[in-house]
Structures are given as structure tokens and as C-alpha cells.
Symmetry: C2
Subunit: 284 residues, 2 copies
């Protein structure tokens, strides 16, 4: 590893180029893979992510289609839309924007997504597959992006100690399992962990996914630390920032991902990778 700032963009570009190549090869023999995006209501964040995902799929040569439901849609209506997408042969992946309105039974909706099309890993069965080291597992986008960044920058994982801050089902837990699968020694930390700064200092790699702005300071790192910042928060001035206090930590450590421009900029590429994998699984 040579770079100090571990930017996401070159990682995303490399993945995109790979996916694009495979899609182009497929084009000659079969139909194009297609992502179906389902949005409930008009939340600005959803629409921004929708545009970003659509752009990435375009770059990869992947079709997208959008389905927009009114924000007063019922759980049953939403589930029926998902089932229609499950059954549609021309759809290879389903991306459902979240959070959903409060009146929706989120768990029922997530479970309705067929795991073989669950490119955003919403169905608990998808997370479970990953835990079970199932080769057919689709990988949740954010932990997948972390792994891609580590690999792109040639950061060794075998026998390396990683402190994972956070244990959510979306990032911390699956990421811990993925790191363990690559023979890292993982320490899973959370709000009840004592001596957190000490633990982080002892680790070769610190990954923070706790959603607290600028929580990780220079007291958590050493000149050897590699810091991966998964957080996307707003600071006191409503400016985008990570879990890590970049200004104070970056000068000290060996390498660090920026926010924005780090992990977050790789997630749609992992989504495209998942869609390609889902396409292969559905057509094998």
C-alpha cells in the first residue's frame, strides 16, 4: 500500500470496468441484466441514491427500471409489487429504497424479496447466507465496499487485527464475518466496549461504522493505523462528515478513507457486482 488517502473513486472505476466487460461478453449470447428499483414516495435521499445507482448501472451496461409508489401505499400493495418483480424473468435484481414510511411492515416487506434477486441484501436470509459462507450469498453493499477498498489498496488481511466499531446487521456484523472469512483477527466493539481507544490503538486496521460524527480521534490511532470510515453523518455545521475526525486523525495514521469520497462512493459498484452475480445465478 502506497497511498495515504484511500479514495473510493478508483476502486469504483475498477469494479465498474470489470462488470462492464462481463456484461459486454454476455450481451452477445443473452439478454442484458436488469435492476428494478422500487421507491416509495419522494424522499430527496432516495431520489439521489436512485440517480447514483442508475448512473452506475448505465456505466456497467446494466438496464434499470424504476417503479415509484405513493407514500400511502399499503404493506400488501408493496409486497405485491415485489412479488411481481420476483416473478418477472427479465428482472435480475431488486433495489428497494429505505427507510420506508412508518405505517409499512418493513420486516414483512424485506422478507418478500426473493434472496436470488436481493442485490441490496434486505431479506434476512441474504445476510444469513453470508454468515454461513454460502457461495451464492449476495454481499451487502457497504461492507462489500469496505472489502473492495482494502483489496484495491493491497492491504493484507490474513493474520491482521481489525477493530470493527459497530455491530449492526447492515454493516458491523456482516463486515466482521467477511473479514473473518479472509483470516483477519476481528474485535467487534460497540457502545458497551470498555477501553475502546486502547483496543483501536492495538489494531492494525480500524473500521468505524457507528454513525457518530467525528467520534474517532487521534487518541484511537497510531502511525501504523489504517482507518476505514464507514460513517456518513452531519457535523454541527450540517456538513457531511464521517465517524472519524479526519482533520485530527489523517495527519497521524498510515492511511485513511475520506468522507465523502471513500466507502460511500464504492457501494453502487458493489450493487452492480451483485446484480451480475444474481444474473449468473438465475441463468446457470
Amino acid at each position: 500500500m502506497q497511498d495515504k488517502e484511500l479514495r473510493g473513486q478508483p476502486v469504483a472505476e475498477k469494479i465498474t470496468a470489470e462488470v462492464k466487460k462481463h456484461v459486454a461478453e454476455m450481451k452477445e449470447k443473452s439478454s442484458l441484466p436488469t435492476l428494478s428499483m422500487i421507491r416509495v414516495g419522494d424522499r430527496i435521499e432516495d431520489m439521489a441514491y436512485e440517480r447514483s445507482a442508475q448512473r452506475r448501472m448505465e456505466l456497467c451496461g446494466i438496464n434499470t427500471q424504476s417503479e415509484v409508489l405513493k407514500s400511502d401505499v399499503t404493506t400488501q400493495q408493496l409486497i405485491r409489487v415485489i412479488q411481481k418483480n420476483n416473478e418477472a424473468k427479465e428482472i435480475n435484481g431488486i433495489l428497494l429504497f429505505q427507510p420506508l414510511p412508518a405505517h409499512i411492515d418493513v420486516e414483512a416487506v424485506k422478507r418478500a424479496i426473493d434472496p436470488i434477486k436481493d442485490v441490496d441484501c434486505n431479506n434476512p436470509l441474504s445476510s444469513a447466507r453470508m454468515y454461513l459462507d454460502d457461495n451464492d450469498a449476495l454481499i451487502p453493499a457497504t461492507p462489500g465496499a469496505v472489502m473492495e477498498i482494502l483489496d484495491y489498496y493491497d492491504i493484507a488481511l490474513e493474520g491482521v487485527s481489525v477493530a470493527v466499531l459497530g455491530r449492526s446487521m447492515i454493516v458491523g456484523k456482516p463486515l466482521s464475518m467477511m473479514l473473518l472469512g479472509r483470516n483477519a483477527t476481528i474485535t467487534v466493539c460497540h457502545s458497551k466496549t470498555k477501553n475502546l481507544a486502547e483496543i483501536c490503538k492495538m489494531a492494525d486496521i480500524v473500521v468505524s461504522c457507528i454513525g457518530k460524527p467525528k467520534f474517532v480521534t487521534e487518541e484511537y490511532v497510531t502511525p501504523n493505523s489504517i482507518v476505514i470510515d464507514v460513517g456518513i453523518n452531519l457535523d454541527k455545521n450540517n456538513k457531511l462528515c464521517g465517524d472519524v475526525d479526519y482533520e485530527r486523525v489523517a495527519p497521524v495514521v498510515q492511511a485513511i478513507t475520506p468522507v465523502p469520497g471513500g466507502v460511500g462512493s464504492v457501494t453502487t459498484s458493489v450493487l452492480a457486482q451483485n446484480l451480475l452475480k444474481a444474473f449468473y445465478m438465475q441463468n446457470r
Copy 2:
């Protein structure tokens, strides 16, 4: 915690008494819970465990029935036996002895067990439920026994650091998830982990489940260490021993489980707990 030697027997007795009480209460209104044990061939170890499980169920007031298949049974025949047990309303749990003969497709057989009757957590879906914090999850017996011992001896877990040696799907991984669910800070170690002795020394609790006789020595512990030994191995003299070199470690540490007489003596009680839970789930 007062005891230095964390023996399994009183833990098993306490669980047994609790299960027995619930079974007695149920007896008045409904049928007795029943465990079906399926054994292939006549391996001495299987027959010993069968006797031990049968005895424990008897103590709890739980019915057992045994099905013994010839060791040349086919995968399909074995799966049919399991399906028969899945469908039988009077059967609440299925215990399949392992390892199975080499010609059997073990994964297919495990997957055949209905998760709601999978009291020994063989179906990957059962492990997955536990990973997903599903309340209906049945708990794998050995990690369950570790948790019961920790609780019985009032060993606090919240914020406490635990080094788990081993990451198998049977013990290390599910145990790590269970400890995390109880707010411990877990470090999952394995054959590729560097500075293992150091990591163990820093932890409040060390749990070893790696299957290497007397691997953990006094260099891995401090006077504050609590050591849980999951290993059941044979030493050079063909004598039963754990992963921990008891003679060298016990004098140094705060508390330790013996082998035999520790974790292993609690597993059939966890099995009985699971059977009771399965019974309730099937009758709710």
C-alpha cells in the same frame, strides 16, 4: 463469582430442574414433549451420547425414542426417515448423531431437518436464525452450554472482553454472536491470528474451542483470567483433556472449567431446553 473451578454439574442440574418443572406443568394440559434420536450404525461415541441424552431427557420428564439405521443406509433413505420425523406431530425435536458415514451427503441430510424441530442446530437455517437474533432460534448445544456456565457462576458479560479461540460454525462463530448479543466485546481468534497469547492475556475471559490438546498454557493467562475450555481431546497418553493445559493454567487464573466435568456436561441440558422451546413453538 466465588468458585475457582467452574464445574458443569450444578449448572446442568439447575437447567434440568427448570425444564422438569415446565414439563410437569405441561403434563396436566397436553401431551409430553418427545425427542427422536436418529443414529446411523453403532459408533461407540454415538451410543454413549445417546445414553447420556436419554438419561438427561428422562430426568427432565421428556420422552425419547430411538431410530437406528444400518451404516449402509443411503442419503435418500436417511432423508426419508428425517422427513417422517418432521411430519410426525408427536415428535418435537430431532437429534441426529454425527459424524455420518462418508458415503452420506451430510449437507443434504442436515438441510432436511425442519428448523422448528432442529434441537441440535444441524440445519444451516438454524444457525442463521441465531445470527439474525431471531427469537425462535434454537441454540447450538455447546455454545449454549458455555453461556449457561457463565450465567450460573454470575460472570458479567456486558462490556467485558472475551477472546474466542476458534471460528467453527458449530462453536466459535455462534458463541461469538451470542456473547456479542450480551454486550461483550469479542475478539475472534484462529490459526492465522498473530500474538495469540498477548490477545488472550488482555481479555477478561478466554474461551477455547480449537480442538488442540493442552494448547493454552500459562503464557495465555493472567491471575484475572476466566478460562472456559470447550475442547474435548485425547492427550499423548490417550487421556481425555481440553484445549487448556489445566495443570499449568488452573493455578494461575481466577477461574476455569475442567475437562471432563465442565462445558461438556451441560450440553444435554441445553438440548432439553431446546426441546422444551421447540415444543412451545410447535404448540403456540
